[in-house]
């Protein structure tokens, strides 16, 4: 497994991160219709038409992860790089079937944003399918679309690990080896499953008959779960892969809501810890600690359900308080304790100064992303990124109707905001805010002026973002943090060599300066030592709980579906296929 002999947490983190990447790769590889091979260019694009079982293709590092060598899938690469910056937010992949009117003229009808993006992507239409969605959703060209699959991959902070452990006979604590092995298994079954689902047939159909221009499959990757249209929801069924436990040494945090959970994890890092920017860092702590990240991609069906499910299980665990917590909370966040112990609802609020984070199901959060992106753009000198935001703007309208996302995680806002903080001096003004919840406050402000936005999906040029955004994140830990182990681990990660190396960029230096400033801010300094940081994380857990509540309230209960339902659904798809064939015949 090509993992450096560093700390277990570091390895776990790598594994988890790579798990997301691989999952996305597996899904998109079997859902993104190939553009003709000539469109694939560049280093990573070695597309081979047949599943290259034998091909001389030397084994790339990416292939080695989870012992599964996959075909190249540019869309996956792009998206995953983007996702990496989001620091373990849930990854939601919607597979959308788009029907265009037969006379649809692809080039002329495209809105500007798309064009811009297209250019930006450098290779003509590498991802025509991907971004077409933007325009489609406007409905201006009369095309219609339907979400036919939704995948949710998320890292869950666990409930009481006791419970979790009791389920598994062997491991009292999950080693990175065990985690890796189980991840392999999960990914294998994902690989198989993806090919058994009805959408795969559509994918094949579209692929094989290139001339079917009236239908297409597109995908959207985001970190927020938008509720599905009721109709769609009703037609879907859910399959949940058994989560993989990452670790259960400690009595887990009582996180309830999977969605919120993720966000919560990062938060701890910022808040008390010495390195506000070291999300990754803190994250790894978390993993190591116990956080039971379970990666559970739930295929097709609406994520909402799965979440709610998890929710329940988690709630049960609440009762077990962490031994460590009390001290921590008292030291830094007195309110936290409360939140944790009893008040699921309030927990969130307490931490989070900004109104947006309140447990209410209010939708605003999605906006942050966009806002932050825009901001980034402004801040950045890079030309490339500029296009991206534009395309996003284009998206915004479509998502507007979906603005009300009960789940829409504040954290989303958080992230981007964070980056903002790092970057823009002005953001620093709110030092106090930062301490409590570093990123959020700023995020809120920013977001307010931006239109709601949901996903950073599609293919955004990852590179550009990467250096601006990602680097800075990393640099935080490097500059401030004393924990080197983890840093090393991260740097050495095989799959992500790209992100590891750049410590010395000007960018980072700038970040370093920022970090210094932050350090001087009174609130932050308190927590520079490690022990605190650990505790903090736990403290942070409560917010998720609150979130979970929200989730619980908002999520609907899905009826259990049976095989016969599945068959019915299959029939529907068969019909659809027939339709497709007919259409193709016409056109």
């Amino acid at each position: 497994m090509a993992v450096n002999p560093h700390s277990e947490p570091a390895k776990m983190e790598q594994i988890i991160t790579e798990f997301f990447a691989k999952s996305l790769h597996i899904i998109l590889e079997s859902r993104c219709p190939y553009v003709s091979s000539r469109n694939y260019s560049g280093e990573q694009i070695l597309y081979s038409p047949s599943s290259s079982a034998s091909s001389s293709s030397s084994t790339r590092p990416r292939d080695k992860w989870f012992n599964l060598a996959l075909r190249d899938c540019p869309a996956a690469l792009e998206n995953i790089d983007f996702w990496r910056q989001s620091n373990l937010e849930p990854m939601v992949v919607d597979v959308v079937l788009v029907q265009r009117p037969l006379n649809w003229d692809y080039t002329s009808s495209s809105p500007n944003p798309r064009v811009a993006f297209e250019r930006n992507s450098s290779s003509k239409d590498r991802f025509p399918f991907v971004w077409k969605s933007d325009s489609d959703e406007f409905g201006s060209d009369g095309s219609t679309e339907k979400i036919i699959e939704r995948w949710v991959v998320q890292y869950e902070s666990k409930k009481g690990c006791k419970e979790a452990c009791s389920g598994s006979k062997r491991s009292s604590s999950t080693s990175s080896h065990a985690l890796y092995k189980k991840s392999i298994l999960l990914l294998r079954s994902l690989y198989v499953t993806v090919r058994l689902l009805p959408a795969y047939k559509i994918f094949r159909e579209i692929n094989s008959s290139g001339q079917i221009r009236s239908f297409n499959l597109i995908h959207r990757v985001s970190s927020s779960v938008e509720p599905l249209i009721r109709r769609d929801e009703a037609e879907m069924q859910q399959f949940m892969f058994t989560p993989v436990e990452t670790s259960c040494d400690y009595v887990g945090s009582p996180l309830a809501d999977p969605l919120k959970r993720l966000p919560s994890v990062p938060m701890p890092q910022y808040s008390p810890s010495s390195s506000p920017f070291g999300r990754r860092h803190s994250w790894s702590y978390d993993a190591n600690r116990a956080s039971p990240p379970s990666a559970l991609p739930s295929p097709s069906p609406s994520p909402t359900y799965s979440e709610s499910r998890t929710l329940h299980s988690k709630f049960g665990n609440h009762p077990h308080p962490h031994p460590h917590r009390p001290p921590t909370s008292s030291s830094r966040y007195p309110s936290l304790e409360i939140a944790q112990v009893h008040n699921k609802d309030m927990g969130y609020d307490e931490y989070v100064p900004s109104p947006n984070f309140s447990p209410s199901t209010s939708p605003s959060p999605p906006m942050y992303l966009q806002g932050s992106n825009m901001l980034k753009v402004l801040l950045r000198s890079d030309s490339a990124p500029v296009y991206i935001p534009t395309s996003r703007l284009g998206d915004a309208p479509l998502s507007s109707n979906k603005t009300v996302l009960p789940f829409s995680p504040p954290h989303k806002g958080t992230r981007p905001c964070l980056s903002l903080l790092e970057r823009s001096p002005s953001a620093l003004q709110g030092a106090k805010l930062l301490k409590e919840d570093h990123s959020k406050p700023s995020g809120v402000k920013i977001s307010s002026n931006s239109s709601p936005h949901k996903s950073f999906s599609r293919s955004c040029s990852r590179l550009s973002f990467e250096d601006s955004y990602d680097d800075s994140e990393f640099s935080g830990p490097f500059v401030v943090d004393d924990d080197e182990l983890i840093d090393h681990g991260i740097g050495s990660r095989p799959g992500s060599s790209d992100r590891s190396g750049n410590l010395g960029t000007p960018h980072e230096r700038a970040v370093g300066a920022l970090v210094q400033m932050l350090k001087k801010a009174p609130p932050l300094q308190q927590d520079l030592n490690r022990s605190h940081s650990q505790k903090q994380i736990q403290i942070q857990d409560p917010p998720p709980v609150a979130a979970s509540n929200m989730a619980a309230s908002s999520s609907r209960v899905s009826p259990v579906k049976t095989t016969s339902d599945a068959l019915e659904e299959l029939k529907v798809y068969m019909d659809m296929k027939q339709l497709l064939l007919r259409q193709s015949g016409k056109s």
Binding site: S51, A69, R170, S171, K181, V192, T193
Partner: protein
């Protein structure tokens, strides 16, 4: 096998015991038996849904099932190969290991052979995974010990007639357009089998997802499966599935006998 499952739930390994103490009932199993049970217990068994297939479908169905299992058990580096079934609208995945493909085909040949010779029987293929332990020879054990940790039973019911469903009405009724109704029937049957096969594949996926703890560490090899064996039995065999169990007992760890 349910009995074993039950026992399993209550006989944690030592390191796991801590967790059970608080949340589970105490292990009811006498300590002296725990060893024994653990060895048997660690062998997970999956009985796959029975499939009614026609002769000509055997190969494809078995390939599909066996390779799907192997894909989940060949945990070395693989380059997956998608295979579209000819008879059904199903795509399954092979791990791209020529050796493995060959072995699977050989076994399927054997199976088909057996079906030909002994029609009218339910047939079962058992795919077992084991760990090889080199043990010092004792009076009772072989030198090499196979510790089975998983078994998959594939239950195949081979129809003797092309149109098994209408077997009875067949004689009494004269159908006006036999050709059409027959083909309809065939299609219906095919569709049924296809969905059953689909179910079996999901059964495999679910099993793989739910049971992960019994799998031994991944051997240091590429693309190759864990050690395995494929055995064929049919309903007339005395134990029909018990033979594996017996073998397990015979080759089991010596301590289980003490």
């Amino acid at each position: 096998m349910t009995g074993f499952r039950y026992l399993k739930a209550y006989s944690p390994k030592t390191e796991g015991q801590v967790h059970y103490e608080t949340e589970q009932q105490p292990d009811p199993t006498p300590i002296c038996y725990r060893f024994l049970i653990r060895h048997i217990m660690n062998c997970e068994v999956c009985q796959l849904k029975e499939l009614d297939v026609e002769y000509f479908e055997i190969r494809e169905v078995l390939q599909c099932i066996l390779h799907t299992i192997f894909f989940h058990r060949a945990l070395g580096l693989v380059r997956p190969k998608d295979i579209d079934l000819q008879l059904f609208e199903i795509t399954y995945v092979q791990c791209g290991d020529a050796e493995l493909e060959k072995k699977v085909d050989e076994k399927i040949d054997q199976f088909i052979d057996k079906v030909e010779k002994h029609p009218n029987k339910k047939n079962q293929i058992c795919l077992s995974f084991f760990e090889v332990k080199n043990k010092q020879a004792t009076w009772f054990t072989h030198k090499v010990e196979h510790l089975y940790w998983e078994q998959w039973y594939i239950n195949i019911n081979v129809a003797q007639h092309p149109k098994p469903i209408s077997g009875k009405s067949h004689h009494s009724k004269l159908v006006l357009d036999p050709g059409e109704s027959a083909s309809e029937e065939r299609n219906a049957r095919r569709a049924t089998l296809e969905s059953s096969l689909h179910e079996v594949l999901f059964q495999i996926i679910k099993f793989v997802n739910e049971k992960k703890d019994h799998i031994p560490p991944i051997p240091n090899m590429e693309g190759v499966s864990f050690p395995y064996e494929i055995t064929i039995s049919s309903s007339s065999d005395s134990a029909f599935g018990m033979d594996m169990f017996k073998r397990m007992l015979q080759t089991g760890h010596p301590t289980m006998l003490s």
